[in-house]
């Protein structure tokens, strides 16, 4: 299956000291599209991942705007409920599996080898393969929208039996697409683990690694632990749909609730898969612009591991309304409340890093600061949701929608943007356009809060999730949300503009682009980073301060 790959460059010359653009002794890469199809270079694959996820972010965003436009006013105004359900489902699936996860994988591809002083990923050809699985998977997934009966319409959580016995015929393709995307994530995770464990620069121990590398290592372990469970669940669905088994079908002695247990056993760690790398990015940016070492590096590592372990024990809090016995309800309530402690530790560490620093507000810092505030708000609503009796009122309402969007949009997505702004000088050799970046930031922050803050109120007032039309008392909240959503959506065009402008030119950036507190290994190579770096391993020195 793996594409034919050009011969590996031989190690003749250290390129760290060599200026980009000349002096390369490498075999000339294939030209045009073949270059991208066949590339095994971690930087190029990283760029591919990032471009792919940006495209998917817009596609998922358009779906979200269809949903928001329909909800602008009461009544069925634009789309029918059937298509509305397909839009909510596709929005969730695309954003989770095709936008946020590949974006983090892209950043990992670009930055992990640079941050640990490795010449490339451990398995470059596998790397190429795992990327190219993604366009296949999501072209297939998107094509289900045009199939008879439409695409998946059962929500991104695809609860059985709505997703099995009562599903549209295209569900088999949905399962196949998810399988392919899952294989891609798993291969990516194996590659990252192999790289981090084996390819660190001499002298760099685990506890010397930048936090982005640490959080990704833990994320990769989570991926290996839970993606096979997802694969198992969708395989069971496939068998229920096509081969007459009854895993989730009560008529044959199965149990629909089992589906939810299995799904959330995957699903809750999945939530952390989407946020742990964000912690790593923010932990790199805040010290850089506070000009002060990160407070409690070790406790950050430990807290991340603790969150990862605890994430396997809390899945039942998604299911407080299915009728679990009291002891189960209490178990999941307690364990969920417990997970707030290490998460709190992280926030306290960031704030203490800021305390008595020397703070400036460059674009990456703006996004990182917004991340800390807004992610914490999402954490608070998460804590409220953990209280099982109160969850009977919150469950499956817009309060939940507000909660997880606060964690995922100004959480995961803002951290990705912060990371992109932070590393753009390294990638392109230019600083991002300052004014445009600031406009992008402020419009995004205002848009995000306009969109998602009113959802708290709508949910508390009683608006259920995933409805295409609503009672009149929710009208004002929804109107504001829709306005905010369009503002947020269109302001992302500025992001594209900033990135494109930055690639084409702008203020030149030096190797150490963000000052002496952004001092991980990636800042020792020239900006822009040449195609091949660290072919001679650097000597790792612990930071002086």
């Amino acid at each position: 299956m793996a594409p034919k790959v050009p011969p590996q460059p031989t190690l003749e010359q250290s390129s760290t000291a060599v200026e980009a653009g000349h002096g390369h002794a490498h075999a000339a890469p294939p030209k045009g599209i073949m270059r991208w199809l066949l590339t095994t270079n971690h930087k190029e694959i990283g760029s591919l991942y990032l471009i792919f996820s940006l495209i998917m972010f817009f596609i998922g965003g358009i779906f979200a705007l269809v949903v928001r436009a329909e909800l602008f006013q009461p009544g069925l105004n634009l789309v029918n409920p059937e298509f509305f359900n397909q839009m909510t489902t596709m929005h969730g699936l695309i954003m989770v599996f095709a936008a946020v996860m590949p974006a983090f994988t892209g950043l990992a591809n670009w930055m992990i080898p640079l941050q640990i002083g490795a010449p490339d990923m451990a398995l470059p050809r596998l790397n190429n393969f795992s990327f190219w699985l993604l366009p296949v998977a999501f072209t297939l997934l998107l094509s289900t929208l045009f199939m008879p009966g439409g695409g998946p319409n059962f929500g991104w959580t695809f609860y059985a039996p709505l997703s099995t016995t009562y599903a549209p015929p295209s569900t088999t393709f949905f399962i196949l697409a998810l399988h392919i995307a899952g294989v891609s994530s798993i291969l990516g995770a194996i590659n990252i683990i192999a790289t981090i464990l084996n390819m660190r620069a001499p002298g760099m121990r685990m506890m010397d690694m930048p936090l982005f590398v640490w959080t990704w290592l833990i994320t990769a372990f989570l991926l290996i632990a839970v993606m096979p469970v997802l694969a198992g669940v969708i395989t069971m669905m496939l068998m229920d749909i096509n081969f007459g088994t009854s895993f989730f079908n009560a008529a044959g002695g199965g149990d629909p609730v089992l589906f939810q247990h299995l799904f959330w056993f995957f699903g809750h760690p999945e939530v952390y898969i989407m946020i742990l790398p964000a912690f790593g990015i923010v932990s790199a940016i805040i010290p850089a612009f506070a000009r002060k070492r990160l407070f409690g590096y070790a406790s950050m590592v430990y807290a991340t591991s603790a969150i990862a372990l605890l994430s396997f024990l809390v899945w039942g809090h998604h299911m407080f309304a299915v009728g679990m016995p009291l002891a189960g309800q209490l178990f999941f309530m307690y364990s969920t409340m417990l997970i707030a402690v290490p998460t709190g530790v992280k926030v306290f560490n960031w704030v203490t890093t800021l305390f008595r620093g020397s703070i400036s507000f460059e674009p990456p810092m703006l996004f990182a600061l917004a991340f800390v505030v807004l992610f914490t708000i999402g954490g608070f609503s998460g804590l409220m949701l953990a209280i099982a009796p109160a969850d009977f009122q919150y469950h499956d309402t817009y309060f939940v929608v507000a909660h997880f969007h606060y964690v995922l949009v100004p959480g995961a997505v803002f951290s990705i943007m912060a990371g992109v702004y932070f590393w753009l000088p390294k990638w392109t050799g230019h600083y991002p356009h300052l004014r445009l970046s600031q406009w992008h930031f402020w419009l995004s922050v205002i848009g995000v809060n306009l969109t998602f803050f009113p959802m708290h109120f709508a949910g508390l007032a009683g608006m259920p999730r995933r409805i295409p039309d609503y009672a009149l008392q929710f009208a004002d909240f929804n109107l504001v949300s829709t306005v905010g959503a369009f503002m947020f959506g269109f302001s992302q065009l500025l992001f594209v503009a900033v990135v494109v402008l930055c690639v084409r030119g702008g203020k030149k950036a030096p190797a150490q682009a963000w000052g002496e507190y952004a001092d991980d290994l990636e800042w020792t190579v020239p900006s822009p980073a040449p195609l091949h770096t660290f072919e001679t391993p650097p000597t790792f020195q612990r930071p002086a301060h």
Binding site: M207, G296, A298, S299, P325, Y334, V345
Partner: protein, 57 residues
């Protein structure tokens, strides 16, 4: 061994002195920490489950 347990316990709370941490990583083996970590997670599960079952009575 006690040192390892203490370190892992500290890790659960997210508290660890830099010095202690350096000591851990110079002397202890990674495997020991992972094993103790998993065992402690199991213990934690047991404790939460016990509290939950007691409270459910």
């Amino acid at each position: 061994m006690w040192g390892v347990i203490k370190s892992v316990l500290a890790a659960f709370l997210g508290v660890q002195k830099d010095q202690q941490r350096r000591a851990d990583f110079e002397h202890g083996s990674a495997a020991a920490f992972i094993v103790v970590g998993v065992v402690m997670t199991a213990v934690l599960v047991g404790v939460i489950a016990m509290v939950a079952i007691l409270a459910a009575r």
